[in-house]
């Protein structure tokens, strides 16, 4: 099953590259550097998707104490952090030629950076607790706090950057994207989601093997 996911992810990534470079057109204002978007945007979507999975798994663990739920939560939070790291790094690389700077305290970059640090702290905590069962319990509580904090972070940072105008919606409506670009974006999202699922599945299996080794 995991290997199948791996192969599908590989195919998806190839498809994503084809869409991103072959099918999608050269963007009007930014030029070809805009193609970084097909890497940058799906990464954060996949990250937040895995954090949601981690959140649900954490609740399931606290409710039912199934070790499989804890393994899923741990793996999901770890993989999500990896994808978030990719998002931040590619965002900086995209920012340099387009904004002239590697980093700016723009609303999205800042919120993602804060969420990244939150989940890094989660990994730190799990690494620091030796007792496995306690690590699972505490990790579950922390990932619940972190996941529920994500919207708070986003709202606060967004309002922080837009000064005097608190928005009534989630975000101001983004300009409509040409169909082709949207399709390429979605294909890349599907590809990265498959990669994420593959990583989570494999990591969860390894966690099971680790537990067995220590038993």
């Amino acid at each position: 099953m995991t290997t199948l996911l791996g192969w599908l992810a590989g195919l998806g990534l190839v498809a994503g590259l084809v869409m991103g470079f072959g099918v999608a057109p050269r963007e009007v204002t930014q030029g070809n550097v805009q193609r970084i978007m097909y890497l940058h945007v799906p990464a954060v979507w996949v990250a937040y998707l895995t954090f949601t999975v981690g959140f649900a798994a954490s609740i399931a663990y606290l409710a039912g104490r199934r070790p499989g739920a804890d393994r899923l939560a741990h793996a999901a939070c770890e993989v999500g952090t990896v994808f978030l790291g990719v998002n931040i790094a590619t965002g900086a690389i995209w920012g340099k030629p387009t904004w002239g700077t590697w980093w700016t305290w723009d609303a999205r970059l800042t919120s993602v950076a804060v969420v990244f640090v939150m989940f890094l702290a989660y990994l730190l905590l799990r690494g620091a607790i030796e007792d496995h069962e306690r690590g699972a319990r505490y990790g579950a509580v922390l990932s619940i706090v972190a996941a529920l904090n994500i919207p708070l972070v986003h709202f606060s940072v967004y309002w922080w950057r837009t000064l005097h105008q608190p928005p009534s919606l989630l975000k101001p409506g983004s300009s409509t994207m040409p169909r082709v670009i949207l399709t390429a974006l979605l294909v890349n999202f599907a590809a990265q989601a498959l990669l994420g699922a593959y990583f989570v599945a494999r990591r969860a299996r390894l966690l099971a093997a680790e537990e067995e080794a220590l038993a």
């Binding site: 030029g31 550097v33 193609r35 940058h40 990896v82 990719v86 590619t90 690389i93 340099k96 390894l206």
Partner: protein, 72 residues
């Protein structure tokens, strides 16, 4: 605006490095765990087989080597 292909290449290369690196790390963990497991099984099989063999010295008790060491 110029195309900045170097930045595009850098971004994709970095992503490949991170994802590839994570994938390799998973592979390494898997190998280490598999090695640890075969080691444990080898020790277990070794102990099991030694306790079943007839004693070399004629004693009815099991060989000293197959017994757990005395605690100080």
């Amino acid at each position: 605006m110029p195309d900045n292909w170097t930045f595009v290449a850098a971004a994709y290369a970095l992503a490949a490095l991170v994802f590839g690196g994570y994938w390799l790390r998973l592979g390494r963990m898997q190998r280490e765990l598999a090695a640890a497991r075969t080691d444990r099984e080898a020790v277990r099989d070794d102990r099991a087989s030694r306790s079943q063999q007839p004693s070399k010295t004629g004693h009815p008790r099991p060989e000293p080597a197959s017994r757990p060491p005395l605690q100080p």
